[in-house]
Amino acid sequence: MVIKNKEFQSRQATGYSLSLQIWTNENNRSKLRGIKPIWSNKKGVGFGFGWIFAIFVGGIIIFLAVYAVTNLVKTERQGQDVASAKEFGILLSPVETSLESGKLAPPIIFPSRSRVYNICRSEGNFGVQRLSVSSSMGIGDKYQEPEISTPFYNKYFFSPAVVEGKKFYAFSKPLNMPFKVADLVYIFGEDNYCLVSPPGEVEDELGKLMVNANVTGSISECALESVKICFGYSEPKCNVLVSFDSNSAERGIVTKNKQDVVYEGYALMYAAIFSDPELYECQIGRLMKRASSLSLIYGQKAEIVSARSDGCGSAFGESFAQYSKITSGINQSKMIGSILESSENLKEANDAISCKMF
């Protein structure tokens, strides 16, 4: 009885739902007939205050979040880059020579492809060398313009203004004029170098110190993408041209980026080859300032030694003071020839005495 009653109820319900469906279909049709184009709707779409407020505040929150994250990433990158520049400078400290004529550093490998910016300023007592690093990242700009650089007052890095790569090589050579002024550190990236007919001494030295250099007799044997350094002859394909003085290969002119710079000695020749002409000129100014100060130190040392050892070293007299004066006035490579005579005189005077100053 109960079952029959339930069946009856369900059938009744089905009939009601069918009739309701038919009614709604009819109702829909009449509704469809009544649809008009949207521009004829005078009521418009109603947006409550809650919606507008939510969109406005949500937009601000999303903007602030994106801004904060971008700034955080930027600051983090800057911090990492500054630390990298500092580490880069410190890693190059062991490359400096003590008794060696040249020293090769193990390659410095960055975690990602990076740019090393090399800036030189010759103002102040000794000028300053500023290094900054910008590592490539997937977020934002590939390379961020470095805002903070690490200063080095007693180092002399020779490289193009911007060196890019993952692996960086460096070697050093002391600059003696006539006493040791400083260690010059040459930095280069992963580019291949082609040395076209270099002098024997340069071939031997650079062959040992440069891992990515190839020595050839003719420019046609150089790899297409290599940096071609031509010694003693001019060729349009040469990226760097080294023109020797008629008497010696240790003096001459290096032409790079259509600019001429003068060198004296192989240490400065390599410096001119590896760095931009502007950077080279600035470093010459810095090196001469240091040579001037060192000359004053040697002058006073000569007085101390002379007083202690019954006049040994007194022969120098005012030589160091004069040398200091000359070097302090040099701020361009073309003026470097003016110190050669004084430098030679100092060397001869030093060689002649038993209490050597340098």
């Binding site: 410190i90 400096e96 007052y153």
Partner: protein, 171 residues
């Protein structure tokens, strides 16, 4: 009633198991934590030793600087005492080495007091840079050399010394 009793015993077992698992996790977590902290301590001490060695190496490099190095003869890690005495008086060099402290100490023969051009060699230390802002100054052993004797009958005399340095240039 029977099914209820069986169910609660099972739940008890599950709970026991859960407690044991949690206890085991805590135990192993603690063991891992102790192990990690011991390892971190070892790592820290190793880092400190490496940093000290690096600092010593850099200090020896300072000794090879043109302003301090003894270049009259072939000598590695040798300081020219006369140049150091002159350098002490040079104001142009402030900030050049990027150091807060740079001092040369005579170890053997030892002496007392600060050195100057007048009282040398009857003294103990040559302080080239002395400013505050450093906690400790690592040192490296060097030779302190100078020319002794009269005119051509002289010789180079080297003594044992230490160079102490601290500052940003070593960090």
């Amino acid at each position: 009633m029977q099914s209820v009793a069986r169910c609660s015993r099972g739940q008890m077992k599950i709970q026991e198991m859960a407690f044991v698992l949690v206890a085991m996790m805590i135990f192993f977590g603690l063991v891992a934590l102790i192990f990690a902290s011991i390892n971190m301590n070892k790592l820290n001490s190793q880092t400190a030793v490496l940093r000290e060695n690096d600092a010593r190496e850099l200090i020896r490099k300072i000794a090879g600087n043109s302003e301090l190095g003894f270049t009259a003869m072939t000598c590695s890690n040798c300081i020219d005492v006369d140049k150091a005495l002159v350098l002490k008086e040079q104001r142009a060099y402030s900030g050049f080495f990027n150091l807060d402290y740079l001092m040369i100490e005579r170890v053997f023969p030892s002496g007392k007091g600060e050195c100057s051009i007048v009282n040398f060699p009857n003294c103990g230390t040559i302080t080239i840079i002395s400013s505050s802002g450093f906690l400790s100054a690592p040192y490296g052993y060097v030779s302190l050399c100078r020319y002794e004797g009269t005119r051509d009958k002289g010789y180079y005399k080297c003594e044992l010394g230490r160079i102490h340095a601290a500052g940003k240039g070593l960090e």
